[in-house]
Symmetry: C2
Protein backbone atom coordinates (compact mmCIF):
# COMPACT_ATOMS: atom_id res chain seq x y z
CA UNK A 1 0.00 0.00 0.00
CA UNK A 2 1.26 3.47 -0.87
CA UNK A 3 1.70 6.20 1.73
CA UNK A 4 -0.93 8.89 1.31
CA UNK A 5 -0.43 12.46 2.50
CA UNK A 6 -2.83 15.39 2.53
CA UNK A 7 -1.66 18.95 1.98
CA UNK A 8 -3.64 22.17 2.51
CA UNK A 9 -1.56 25.05 1.13
CA UNK A 10 -2.96 28.57 1.52
CA UNK A 11 -2.10 31.10 -1.18
CA UNK A 12 -2.41 34.86 -0.72
CA UNK A 13 -4.82 35.44 -3.58
CA UNK A 14 -8.59 35.15 -3.28
CA UNK A 15 -9.84 37.59 -5.92
CA UNK A 16 -8.05 37.18 -9.26
CA UNK A 17 -9.54 34.06 -10.83
CA UNK A 18 -6.80 33.65 -13.43
CA UNK A 19 -4.04 33.62 -10.84
CA UNK A 20 -6.00 31.24 -8.59
CA UNK A 21 -6.64 28.80 -11.44
CA UNK A 22 -3.02 28.96 -12.59
CA UNK A 23 -1.91 28.03 -9.08
CA UNK A 24 -4.51 25.25 -8.65
CA UNK A 25 -3.47 23.89 -12.06
CA UNK A 26 -0.07 23.05 -10.55
CA UNK A 27 -1.83 20.48 -8.36
CA UNK A 28 -4.17 19.28 -11.12
CA UNK A 29 -1.26 18.67 -13.47
CA UNK A 30 0.93 16.75 -11.06
CA UNK A 31 0.94 12.95 -11.39
CA UNK A 32 0.29 11.15 -8.11
CA UNK A 33 -1.94 13.93 -6.71
CA UNK A 34 -5.70 14.42 -6.48
CA UNK A 35 -7.19 17.87 -5.99
CA UNK A 36 -9.95 17.55 -3.37
CA UNK A 37 -11.13 21.11 -2.94
CA UNK A 38 -10.20 24.77 -3.20
CA UNK A 39 -12.11 27.75 -1.90
CA UNK A 40 -11.35 31.43 -2.15
CA UNK A 41 -12.32 34.16 0.29
CA UNK A 42 -12.44 37.62 -1.22
CA UNK A 43 -12.29 39.63 2.01
CA UNK A 44 -9.41 37.48 3.27
CA UNK A 45 -7.91 37.63 -0.24
CA UNK A 46 -6.77 34.07 0.24
CA UNK A 47 -7.42 30.63 -1.26
CA UNK A 48 -7.25 27.34 0.63
CA UNK A 49 -6.31 24.38 -1.59
CA UNK A 50 -6.77 20.79 -0.41
CA UNK A 51 -5.19 17.83 -2.19
CA UNK A 52 -3.74 14.46 -1.40
CA UNK A 53 -1.20 12.20 -2.98
CA UNK A 54 1.88 10.02 -2.63
CA UNK A 55 5.06 11.32 -0.96
CA UNK A 56 6.54 11.97 -4.42
CA UNK A 57 3.36 13.55 -5.77
CA UNK A 58 3.04 15.94 -2.82
CA UNK A 59 6.71 16.92 -3.06
CA UNK A 60 6.37 17.75 -6.73
CA UNK A 61 3.03 19.56 -6.35
CA UNK A 62 4.26 21.62 -3.39
CA UNK A 63 7.37 22.82 -5.22
CA UNK A 64 5.47 23.58 -8.44
CA UNK A 65 2.78 25.51 -6.57
CA UNK A 66 5.39 27.64 -4.79
CA UNK A 67 7.17 28.45 -8.07
CA UNK A 68 3.94 29.50 -9.75
CA UNK A 69 2.81 31.59 -6.77
CA UNK A 70 6.17 33.38 -6.59
CA UNK A 71 5.79 34.16 -10.28
CA UNK A 72 2.21 35.47 -10.09
CA UNK A 73 1.52 36.87 -6.60
CA UNK A 74 3.03 40.18 -5.52
CA UNK A 75 2.67 40.77 -1.79
CA UNK A 76 3.82 44.39 -2.05
CA UNK A 77 0.37 45.02 -3.58
CA UNK A 78 -1.60 42.53 -1.44
CA UNK A 79 -4.39 43.61 0.87
CA UNK A 80 -6.76 41.39 2.84
CA UNK A 81 -8.16 40.74 6.29
CA UNK A 82 -6.24 37.54 6.97
CA UNK A 83 -2.65 37.83 8.26
CA UNK A 84 -0.07 36.63 5.71
CA UNK A 85 3.68 36.60 5.18
CA UNK A 86 4.14 34.91 1.79
CA UNK A 87 2.63 34.30 -1.64
CA UNK A 88 2.10 30.74 -0.49
CA UNK A 89 1.61 31.50 3.16
CA UNK A 90 1.54 28.08 4.74
CA UNK A 91 1.94 24.53 3.46
CA UNK A 92 1.06 21.78 5.95
CA UNK A 93 1.47 18.05 5.30
CA UNK A 94 -0.84 15.61 7.10
CA UNK A 95 -0.46 11.81 7.32
CA UNK A 96 -3.61 10.09 6.01
CA UNK A 97 -2.85 6.45 5.22
CA UNK A 98 0.20 4.26 5.91
CA UNK A 99 2.20 7.47 6.30
CA UNK A 100 3.47 8.56 9.73
CA UNK A 101 4.09 12.00 11.21
CA UNK A 102 7.79 11.25 10.68
CA UNK A 103 7.16 10.80 6.95
CA UNK A 104 5.44 14.18 6.84
CA UNK A 105 8.26 15.88 8.76
CA UNK A 106 10.78 14.46 6.29
CA UNK A 107 8.62 15.51 3.37
CA UNK A 108 8.23 19.05 4.73
CA UNK A 109 12.02 19.43 5.04
CA UNK A 110 12.61 18.13 1.54
CA UNK A 111 9.93 20.40 0.06
CA UNK A 112 11.08 23.40 2.13
CA UNK A 113 14.68 23.01 0.99
CA UNK A 114 13.67 22.64 -2.66
CA UNK A 115 11.36 25.68 -2.54
CA UNK A 116 14.10 27.85 -1.04
CA UNK A 117 16.47 26.75 -3.80
CA UNK A 118 14.13 26.53 -6.80
CA UNK A 119 11.77 29.44 -6.03
CA UNK A 120 14.12 31.63 -3.96
CA UNK A 121 11.47 31.67 -1.24
CA UNK A 122 12.91 31.39 2.31
CA UNK A 123 11.13 28.72 4.40
CA UNK A 124 10.33 28.36 8.08
CA UNK A 125 9.62 24.86 9.37
CA UNK A 126 6.64 24.97 11.76
CA UNK A 127 4.39 22.70 13.87
CA UNK A 128 5.86 19.18 14.23
CA UNK A 129 8.67 20.08 11.82
CA UNK A 130 9.82 23.13 13.80
CA UNK A 131 13.54 23.41 14.60
CA UNK A 132 12.78 25.01 18.00
CA UNK A 133 9.72 25.11 20.29
CA UNK A 134 9.17 28.86 19.82
CA UNK A 135 8.76 28.27 16.07
CA UNK A 136 6.00 25.63 16.31
CA UNK A 137 3.03 28.01 16.41
CA UNK A 138 2.15 29.45 13.00
CA UNK A 139 0.74 32.68 14.44
CA UNK A 140 4.09 33.37 16.16
CA UNK A 141 6.07 32.60 13.00
CA UNK A 142 3.80 34.87 10.97
CA UNK A 143 3.79 37.72 13.48
CA UNK A 144 4.91 40.95 11.79
CA UNK A 145 3.49 39.68 8.51
CA UNK A 146 5.01 40.36 5.08
CA UNK A 147 5.70 43.98 5.88
CA UNK A 148 7.70 43.21 9.03
CA UNK A 149 9.42 40.04 7.84
CA UNK A 150 12.56 41.59 6.28
CA UNK A 151 13.43 42.95 9.72
CA UNK A 152 12.25 39.90 11.70
CA UNK A 153 14.51 37.39 9.92
CA UNK A 154 17.60 39.33 11.07
CA UNK A 155 16.81 38.25 14.65
CA UNK A 156 18.89 35.09 15.40
CA UNK A 157 15.68 33.51 16.82
CA UNK A 158 13.92 33.95 13.49
CA UNK A 159 16.41 32.95 10.82
CA UNK A 160 14.48 30.87 8.25
CA UNK A 161 15.36 27.14 8.21
CA UNK A 162 16.11 27.30 4.49
CA UNK A 163 17.05 30.18 2.17
CA UNK A 164 18.96 32.55 4.42
CA UNK A 165 18.14 35.88 6.05
CA UNK A 166 16.79 37.74 3.01
CA UNK A 167 13.08 37.51 2.29
CA UNK A 168 11.86 37.34 -1.30
CA UNK A 169 11.12 40.95 -2.31
CA UNK A 170 7.61 40.27 -3.69
CA UNK A 171 6.84 36.78 -2.34
CA UNK A 172 7.98 37.03 1.30
CA UNK A 173 8.54 33.80 3.23
CA UNK A 174 6.70 30.49 3.62
CA UNK A 175 5.94 28.16 6.54
CA UNK A 176 6.09 24.43 5.74
CA UNK A 177 5.42 21.72 8.29
CA UNK A 178 3.88 18.45 9.38
CA UNK A 179 0.79 18.37 11.57
CA UNK A 180 -2.16 16.13 12.50
CA UNK A 181 -5.40 16.68 10.56
CA UNK A 182 -7.19 19.85 11.65
CA UNK A 183 -10.96 19.78 12.00
CA UNK A 184 -12.88 23.03 11.50
CA UNK A 185 -16.01 22.51 13.59
CA UNK A 186 -18.64 25.11 14.44
CA UNK A 187 -21.42 24.80 16.98
CA UNK A 188 -24.56 26.85 16.37
CA UNK A 189 -26.48 28.16 19.38
CA UNK A 190 -30.17 28.90 19.58
CA UNK A 191 -29.59 32.50 20.59
CA UNK A 192 -28.93 35.93 19.08
CA UNK A 193 -26.66 36.76 22.01
CA UNK A 194 -23.07 36.76 20.77
CA UNK A 195 -21.70 37.15 24.30
CA UNK A 196 -22.86 33.61 25.20
CA UNK A 197 -20.88 32.13 22.28
CA UNK A 198 -17.89 34.26 23.30
CA UNK A 199 -18.04 33.07 26.91
CA UNK A 200 -18.29 29.43 25.84
CA UNK A 201 -15.41 29.87 23.37
CA UNK A 202 -13.20 31.14 26.19
CA UNK A 203 -14.14 28.23 28.44
CA UNK A 204 -13.46 25.42 25.99
CA UNK A 205 -10.25 26.67 24.34
CA UNK A 206 -6.78 25.68 25.48
CA UNK A 207 -5.70 29.32 25.77
CA UNK A 208 -8.49 29.83 28.33
CA UNK A 209 -7.58 26.76 30.36
CA UNK A 210 -10.00 24.48 28.52
CA UNK A 211 -9.28 21.52 26.27
CA UNK A 212 -5.85 20.86 24.81
CA UNK A 213 -5.65 21.27 21.00
CA UNK A 214 -8.82 23.36 20.86
CA UNK A 215 -9.01 26.92 19.53
CA UNK A 216 -12.40 28.62 19.79
CA UNK A 217 -14.12 31.97 19.59
CA UNK A 218 -17.64 33.34 19.43
CA UNK A 219 -18.88 34.74 16.12
CA UNK A 220 -22.22 35.97 14.81
CA UNK A 221 -23.82 34.15 11.88
CA UNK A 222 -25.41 37.25 10.42
CA UNK A 223 -27.45 35.49 7.72
CA UNK A 224 -29.19 33.29 10.32
CA UNK A 225 -29.01 35.78 13.18
CA UNK A 226 -27.57 33.23 15.61
CA UNK A 227 -24.40 33.07 17.66
CA UNK A 228 -21.83 30.39 16.88
CA UNK A 229 -18.87 28.89 18.70
CA UNK A 230 -16.29 28.64 15.91
CA UNK A 231 -13.72 25.95 16.67
CA UNK A 232 -10.45 24.60 15.29
CA UNK A 233 -9.56 21.18 16.64
CA UNK A 234 -5.85 20.70 16.01
CA UNK A 235 -5.65 17.09 17.21
CA UNK A 236 -8.87 15.08 17.54
CA UNK A 237 -6.95 12.15 19.05
CA UNK A 238 -6.22 14.39 22.06
CA UNK A 239 -9.58 16.18 22.31
CA UNK A 240 -12.38 14.46 20.38
CA UNK A 241 -15.43 16.07 18.78
CA UNK A 242 -17.89 14.58 21.27
CA UNK A 243 -16.11 15.99 24.32
CA UNK A 244 -16.18 19.52 22.93
CA UNK A 245 -19.80 19.13 21.82
CA UNK A 246 -20.97 17.84 25.20
CA UNK A 247 -19.21 20.62 27.11
CA UNK A 248 -20.70 23.27 24.83
CA UNK A 249 -24.15 21.71 25.34
CA UNK A 250 -23.71 21.85 29.11
CA UNK A 251 -22.36 25.39 29.17
CA UNK A 252 -25.05 26.67 26.80
CA UNK A 253 -27.72 25.01 28.96
CA UNK A 254 -26.49 27.25 31.77
CA UNK A 255 -28.10 30.11 29.82
CA UNK A 256 -31.12 28.08 28.73
CA UNK A 257 -29.67 28.01 25.21
CA UNK A 258 -29.78 24.83 23.07
CA UNK A 259 -27.25 23.65 20.49
CA UNK A 260 -29.29 23.80 17.29
CA UNK A 261 -26.75 22.29 14.94
CA UNK A 262 -23.07 21.93 14.12
CA UNK A 263 -20.99 22.36 10.98
CA UNK A 264 -18.03 20.34 9.77
CA UNK A 265 -16.19 22.67 7.41
CA UNK A 266 -14.18 21.01 4.68
CA UNK A 267 -12.65 17.61 5.19
CA UNK A 268 -12.55 15.38 8.23
CA UNK A 269 -10.73 12.09 8.95
CA UNK A 270 -13.11 9.15 9.25
CA UNK A 271 -11.64 8.14 12.61
CA UNK A 272 -12.93 11.37 14.19
CA UNK A 273 -16.48 10.33 13.29
CA UNK A 274 -15.93 6.70 14.34
CA UNK A 275 -14.75 8.01 17.72
CA UNK A 276 -17.99 10.01 18.11
CA UNK A 277 -20.15 7.02 17.13
CA UNK A 278 -18.24 4.78 19.54
CA UNK A 279 -18.74 7.23 22.40
CA UNK A 280 -22.44 7.95 21.88
CA UNK A 281 -23.41 4.36 21.08
CA UNK A 282 -21.22 3.14 23.98
CA UNK A 283 -19.60 0.47 21.80
CA UNK A 284 -17.34 -1.86 23.81
CA UNK A 285 -13.96 -3.01 22.46
CA UNK A 286 -14.46 -1.45 19.07
CA UNK A 287 -11.62 -1.66 16.54
CA UNK A 288 -12.47 0.35 13.42
CA UNK A 289 -9.41 -0.90 11.54
CA UNK A 290 -10.83 -4.43 11.67
CA UNK A 291 -14.58 -3.94 12.04
CA UNK A 292 -15.31 -1.27 9.44
CA UNK A 293 -15.69 -3.07 6.14
CA UNK A 294 -14.31 -0.28 3.97
CA UNK A 295 -11.12 -0.09 6.02
CA UNK A 296 -10.14 -3.32 4.29
CA UNK A 297 -10.26 -1.49 0.95
CA UNK A 298 -7.89 1.30 2.05
Amino acid sequence: MAKIIESIPNISEGRNKEIIEACVDQIRQTTGCTLLDYSSDKSHNRTVITYMGSMEGCEEAGVKLAKKAVELIDLTKHQGEHPRMGCVDVMPFVPIKEATMKDCIELSKKVGKRISEEAQLPVFLYERSASAPHRENLAKVRKGQFEGMAEKVKDPDWIPDFGGQRIHPTAGVLAVGARPPLIAYNINLGTEDLSIAEKIGKIIREAGGGFKCVKAMGVMLEERNIAQVSINMTDFTVTPLHRVTELVRREAARYGVPVIGTELIGLCPMQALFDAAEYYLQIEDFDASVQVIENHLL
Copy 2:
Protein backbone atom coordinates in the same frame (compact mmCIF):
# COMPACT_ATOMS: atom_id res chain seq x y z
CA MET B 1 -13.08 1.81 -9.88
CA ALA B 2 -13.93 -1.86 -9.51
CA LYS B 3 -17.21 -3.06 -8.02
CA ILE B 4 -16.63 -4.61 -4.60
CA ILE B 5 -19.02 -7.17 -3.10
CA GLU B 6 -19.02 -8.78 0.33
CA SER B 7 -20.15 -12.36 0.88
CA ILE B 8 -20.82 -14.11 4.17
CA PRO B 9 -21.41 -17.81 3.45
CA ASN B 10 -22.30 -20.08 6.37
CA ILE B 11 -21.13 -23.68 6.20
CA SER B 12 -22.60 -26.48 8.33
CA GLU B 13 -19.36 -27.50 10.00
CA GLY B 14 -18.00 -25.88 13.15
CA ARG B 15 -16.01 -28.68 14.75
CA ASN B 16 -13.73 -30.50 12.29
CA LYS B 17 -10.80 -28.14 11.75
CA GLU B 18 -9.53 -29.91 8.63
CA ILE B 19 -12.85 -29.60 6.85
CA ILE B 20 -13.24 -25.95 7.92
CA GLU B 21 -9.76 -25.04 6.68
CA ALA B 22 -10.28 -26.89 3.39
CA CYS B 23 -13.44 -24.85 2.82
CA VAL B 24 -11.89 -21.52 3.83
CA ASP B 25 -8.95 -22.32 1.54
CA GLN B 26 -11.34 -22.05 -1.42
CA ILE B 27 -11.69 -18.34 -0.61
CA ARG B 28 -8.01 -17.85 0.20
CA GLN B 29 -6.95 -19.38 -3.10
CA THR B 30 -9.30 -17.41 -5.34
CA THR B 31 -7.82 -14.44 -7.18
CA GLY B 32 -9.79 -11.24 -6.71
CA CYS B 33 -10.98 -12.15 -3.20
CA THR B 34 -9.81 -11.20 0.28
CA LEU B 35 -10.74 -13.33 3.29
CA LEU B 36 -11.77 -10.95 6.10
CA ASP B 37 -12.81 -13.31 8.85
CA TYR B 38 -14.11 -16.76 9.70
CA SER B 39 -15.42 -17.97 13.01
CA SER B 40 -16.68 -21.39 14.03
CA ASP B 41 -19.24 -22.19 16.69
CA LYS B 42 -18.99 -25.70 18.08
CA SER B 43 -22.46 -25.92 19.60
CA HIS B 44 -24.03 -24.52 16.44
CA ASN B 45 -21.66 -26.75 14.43
CA ARG B 46 -21.41 -23.96 11.90
CA THR B 47 -18.76 -21.60 10.50
CA VAL B 48 -19.41 -18.07 9.24
CA ILE B 49 -16.96 -16.95 6.57
CA THR B 50 -16.63 -13.29 5.54
CA TYR B 51 -14.79 -12.20 2.42
CA MET B 52 -14.98 -9.54 -0.22
CA GLY B 53 -13.92 -9.23 -3.81
CA SER B 54 -14.76 -8.31 -7.37
CA MET B 55 -17.88 -9.65 -9.10
CA GLU B 56 -15.74 -12.26 -10.85
CA GLY B 57 -13.79 -13.14 -7.69
CA CYS B 58 -16.96 -13.64 -5.64
CA GLU B 59 -18.54 -15.78 -8.35
CA GLU B 60 -15.52 -18.05 -8.52
CA ALA B 61 -15.09 -18.26 -4.73
CA GLY B 62 -18.78 -19.01 -4.15
CA VAL B 63 -18.85 -21.86 -6.64
CA LYS B 64 -15.56 -23.35 -5.41
CA LEU B 65 -16.70 -23.18 -1.80
CA ALA B 66 -19.95 -24.99 -2.61
CA LYS B 67 -18.12 -27.75 -4.50
CA LYS B 68 -15.69 -28.33 -1.64
CA ALA B 69 -18.47 -28.29 0.98
CA VAL B 70 -20.55 -30.80 -1.01
CA GLU B 71 -17.48 -33.03 -1.16
CA LEU B 72 -16.61 -32.85 2.56
CA ILE B 73 -19.77 -32.16 4.59
CA ASP B 74 -22.36 -34.89 5.11
CA LEU B 75 -25.60 -33.53 6.52
CA THR B 76 -27.00 -37.01 7.19
CA LYS B 77 -24.48 -37.09 10.08
CA HIS B 78 -24.73 -33.41 11.08
CA GLN B 79 -25.94 -32.29 14.49
CA GLY B 80 -25.96 -28.78 15.90
CA GLU B 81 -28.15 -26.21 17.59
CA HIS B 82 -28.48 -23.88 14.61
CA PRO B 83 -31.15 -24.69 11.98
CA ARG B 84 -29.60 -25.74 8.63
CA MET B 85 -30.66 -27.18 5.32
CA GLY B 86 -27.42 -27.51 3.36
CA CYS B 87 -23.66 -28.11 3.56
CA VAL B 88 -23.30 -24.48 2.61
CA ASP B 89 -26.48 -23.24 4.22
CA VAL B 90 -26.72 -19.68 3.04
CA MET B 91 -24.65 -17.47 0.74
CA PRO B 92 -25.56 -13.75 0.78
CA PHE B 93 -23.98 -11.12 -1.47
CA VAL B 94 -23.81 -7.52 -0.23
CA PRO B 95 -22.92 -4.41 -2.27
CA ILE B 96 -19.98 -2.54 -0.70
CA LYS B 97 -18.44 -0.17 -3.23
CA GLU B 98 -19.56 0.94 -6.70
CA ALA B 99 -21.74 -2.17 -6.83
CA THR B 100 -25.53 -1.90 -6.63
CA MET B 101 -28.15 -4.26 -5.22
CA LYS B 102 -28.96 -5.12 -8.84
CA ASP B 103 -25.35 -6.25 -9.37
CA CYS B 104 -25.65 -8.51 -6.33
CA ILE B 105 -28.97 -9.97 -7.50
CA GLU B 106 -27.43 -10.77 -10.89
CA LEU B 107 -24.39 -12.27 -9.20
CA SER B 108 -26.52 -14.42 -6.90
CA LYS B 109 -28.44 -15.84 -9.87
CA LYS B 110 -25.26 -16.58 -11.78
CA VAL B 111 -23.65 -18.26 -8.77
CA GLY B 112 -26.83 -20.15 -7.88
CA LYS B 113 -27.18 -21.54 -11.39
CA ARG B 114 -23.53 -22.60 -11.53
CA ILE B 115 -23.66 -24.27 -8.11
CA SER B 116 -26.74 -26.27 -9.09
CA GLU B 117 -24.97 -27.44 -12.25
CA GLU B 118 -21.40 -27.87 -11.05
CA ALA B 119 -22.01 -29.12 -7.49
CA GLN B 120 -25.44 -30.76 -8.00
CA LEU B 121 -26.74 -28.66 -5.11
CA PRO B 122 -30.26 -27.24 -5.67
CA VAL B 123 -30.49 -23.52 -4.91
CA PHE B 124 -33.21 -21.24 -3.55
CA LEU B 125 -32.91 -17.55 -4.30
CA TYR B 126 -33.80 -15.54 -1.16
CA GLU B 127 -33.99 -11.94 0.15
CA ARG B 128 -33.77 -9.37 -2.67
CA SER B 129 -33.11 -12.16 -5.19
CA ALA B 130 -36.24 -14.15 -4.28
CA SER B 131 -38.52 -15.25 -7.13
CA ALA B 132 -41.63 -14.73 -4.98
CA PRO B 133 -42.39 -12.75 -1.79
CA HIS B 134 -42.97 -15.88 0.32
CA ARG B 135 -39.41 -16.99 -0.46
CA GLU B 136 -37.65 -13.78 0.72
CA ASN B 137 -37.30 -14.71 4.38
CA LEU B 138 -34.48 -17.18 5.04
CA ALA B 139 -36.19 -18.71 8.08
CA LYS B 140 -39.21 -19.58 5.94
CA VAL B 141 -37.05 -21.05 3.18
CA ARG B 142 -35.11 -23.12 5.72
CA LYS B 143 -38.18 -24.31 7.64
CA GLY B 144 -38.22 -28.12 7.80
CA GLN B 145 -34.43 -28.13 7.67
CA PHE B 146 -32.30 -30.77 5.92
CA GLU B 147 -34.43 -33.63 7.21
CA GLY B 148 -37.69 -32.17 5.86
CA MET B 149 -36.34 -30.68 2.63
CA ALA B 150 -36.77 -33.71 0.35
CA GLU B 151 -40.50 -33.54 1.02
CA LYS B 152 -40.77 -29.71 1.03
CA VAL B 153 -39.33 -29.21 -2.47
CA LYS B 154 -42.19 -31.31 -3.92
CA ASP B 155 -44.59 -28.50 -2.96
CA PRO B 156 -45.08 -26.24 -6.02
CA ASP B 157 -44.50 -23.23 -3.72
CA TRP B 158 -41.07 -24.53 -2.76
CA ILE B 159 -39.46 -25.76 -5.97
CA PRO B 160 -35.83 -24.61 -5.89
CA ASP B 161 -34.95 -21.86 -8.38
CA PHE B 162 -32.12 -23.94 -9.80
CA GLY B 163 -31.42 -27.70 -9.79
CA GLY B 164 -34.88 -29.21 -9.76
CA GLN B 165 -36.99 -30.94 -7.13
CA ARG B 166 -34.46 -33.45 -5.83
CA ILE B 167 -32.25 -32.36 -2.92
CA HIS B 168 -28.62 -33.49 -2.81
CA PRO B 169 -28.61 -36.70 -0.71
CA THR B 170 -25.81 -35.61 1.64
CA ALA B 171 -25.55 -31.86 0.99
CA GLY B 172 -29.22 -30.76 0.95
CA VAL B 173 -30.06 -27.38 -0.59
CA LEU B 174 -28.60 -23.86 -0.48
CA ALA B 175 -30.06 -20.35 -0.26
CA VAL B 176 -28.24 -17.70 -2.33
CA GLY B 177 -29.30 -14.07 -2.44
CA ALA B 178 -28.56 -10.37 -2.42
CA ARG B 179 -29.19 -8.26 0.67
CA PRO B 180 -28.09 -5.00 2.34
CA PRO B 181 -25.31 -5.26 4.92
CA LEU B 182 -26.55 -6.77 8.18
CA ILE B 183 -25.34 -5.30 11.44
CA ALA B 184 -25.21 -7.56 14.49
CA TYR B 185 -25.61 -5.15 17.39
CA ASN B 186 -26.14 -6.02 21.03
CA ILE B 187 -27.13 -3.67 23.83
CA ASN B 188 -26.03 -4.62 27.34
CA LEU B 189 -28.28 -3.65 30.25
CA GLY B 190 -27.24 -2.96 33.80
CA THR B 191 -29.53 -5.65 35.21
CA GLU B 192 -29.59 -9.37 35.91
CA ASP B 193 -33.28 -9.44 34.99
CA LEU B 194 -33.64 -11.21 31.63
CA SER B 195 -37.33 -10.34 31.43
CA ILE B 196 -36.49 -6.63 30.95
CA ALA B 197 -34.28 -7.43 27.94
CA GLU B 198 -37.03 -9.69 26.59
CA LYS B 199 -39.68 -6.98 26.95
CA ILE B 200 -37.48 -4.41 25.23
CA GLY B 201 -36.64 -6.86 22.44
CA LYS B 202 -40.35 -7.31 21.76
CA ILE B 203 -40.96 -3.56 21.69
CA ILE B 204 -38.20 -2.62 19.26
CA ARG B 205 -38.48 -5.45 16.74
CA GLU B 206 -40.49 -5.27 13.54
CA ALA B 207 -42.36 -8.47 14.40
CA GLY B 208 -43.63 -6.79 17.58
CA GLY B 209 -44.72 -3.61 15.81
CA GLY B 210 -41.44 -1.80 16.42
CA PHE B 211 -38.84 -0.65 13.92
CA LYS B 212 -38.73 -1.92 10.36
CA CYS B 213 -35.68 -4.09 9.55
CA VAL B 214 -34.98 -4.82 13.20
CA LYS B 215 -34.92 -8.30 14.75
CA ALA B 216 -34.36 -8.47 18.49
CA MET B 217 -34.59 -10.75 21.49
CA GLY B 218 -33.51 -10.80 25.11
CA VAL B 219 -30.65 -13.09 26.12
CA MET B 220 -28.60 -13.61 29.26
CA LEU B 221 -24.85 -12.95 29.13
CA GLU B 222 -23.99 -15.65 31.64
CA GLU B 223 -20.29 -14.78 31.98
CA ARG B 224 -21.11 -11.19 33.00
CA ASN B 225 -24.47 -11.96 34.63
CA ILE B 226 -26.26 -9.23 32.73
CA ALA B 227 -29.23 -9.18 30.38
CA GLN B 228 -28.71 -8.19 26.77
CA VAL B 229 -30.96 -7.09 23.93
CA SER B 230 -29.48 -9.02 21.00
CA ILE B 231 -30.27 -7.29 17.70
CA ASN B 232 -29.95 -7.90 13.98
CA MET B 233 -30.34 -4.75 11.90
CA THR B 234 -31.10 -5.87 8.38
CA ASP B 235 -31.04 -2.40 6.79
CA PHE B 236 -29.40 0.45 8.67
CA THR B 237 -30.51 2.93 5.99
CA VAL B 238 -34.10 2.25 7.07
CA THR B 239 -33.58 2.00 10.83
CA PRO B 240 -30.25 3.44 12.01
CA LEU B 241 -28.18 2.37 15.03
CA HIS B 242 -28.86 5.56 16.98
CA ARG B 243 -32.66 5.25 16.78
CA VAL B 244 -32.57 1.71 18.18
CA THR B 245 -30.08 2.70 20.85
CA GLU B 246 -32.08 5.71 21.99
CA LEU B 247 -35.33 3.74 22.21
CA VAL B 248 -33.64 0.99 24.21
CA ARG B 249 -32.21 3.65 26.56
CA ARG B 250 -35.67 5.13 27.07
CA GLU B 251 -37.42 1.80 27.56
CA ALA B 252 -34.73 0.54 29.95
CA ALA B 253 -34.98 3.80 31.93
CA ARG B 254 -38.63 2.86 32.55
CA TYR B 255 -37.25 0.12 34.83
CA GLY B 256 -34.45 2.27 36.23
CA VAL B 257 -31.98 0.23 34.19
CA PRO B 258 -29.06 1.87 32.34
CA VAL B 259 -27.46 0.81 29.06
CA ILE B 260 -23.95 -0.12 30.19
CA GLY B 261 -22.45 -0.79 26.77
CA THR B 262 -23.08 -2.10 23.28
CA GLU B 263 -21.35 -4.59 21.01
CA LEU B 264 -20.83 -4.47 17.27
CA ILE B 265 -20.28 -8.08 16.25
CA GLY B 266 -18.17 -8.65 13.17
CA LEU B 267 -18.12 -6.12 10.38
CA CYS B 268 -20.05 -2.90 9.92
CA PRO B 269 -20.31 -0.46 6.99
CA MET B 270 -18.67 2.90 7.72
CA GLN B 271 -21.81 4.80 6.73
CA ALA B 272 -23.72 3.29 9.68
CA LEU B 273 -21.18 4.89 12.04
CA PHE B 274 -21.13 8.19 10.11
CA ASP B 275 -24.92 8.30 10.47
CA ALA B 276 -24.63 7.91 14.25
CA ALA B 277 -21.95 10.61 14.49
CA GLU B 278 -24.03 12.95 12.34
CA TYR B 279 -27.09 12.43 14.54
CA TYR B 280 -25.43 12.81 17.93
CA LEU B 281 -23.17 15.69 16.92
CA GLN B 282 -26.13 17.34 15.10
CA ILE B 283 -24.03 17.99 12.00
CA GLU B 284 -25.88 20.11 9.43
CA ASP B 285 -25.68 19.33 5.68
CA PHE B 286 -23.08 16.63 6.11
CA ASP B 287 -21.98 14.70 3.03
CA ALA B 288 -19.64 11.88 4.00
CA SER B 289 -18.82 11.02 0.39
CA VAL B 290 -17.20 14.44 -0.01
CA GLN B 291 -16.20 15.44 3.53
CA VAL B 292 -14.56 12.27 4.82
CA ILE B 293 -10.98 12.34 3.58
CA GLU B 294 -10.59 8.58 3.21
CA ASN B 295 -13.68 8.35 1.01
CA HIS B 296 -11.53 9.88 -1.71
CA LEU B 297 -9.22 6.87 -1.50
CA LEU B 298 -12.01 4.31 -2.00
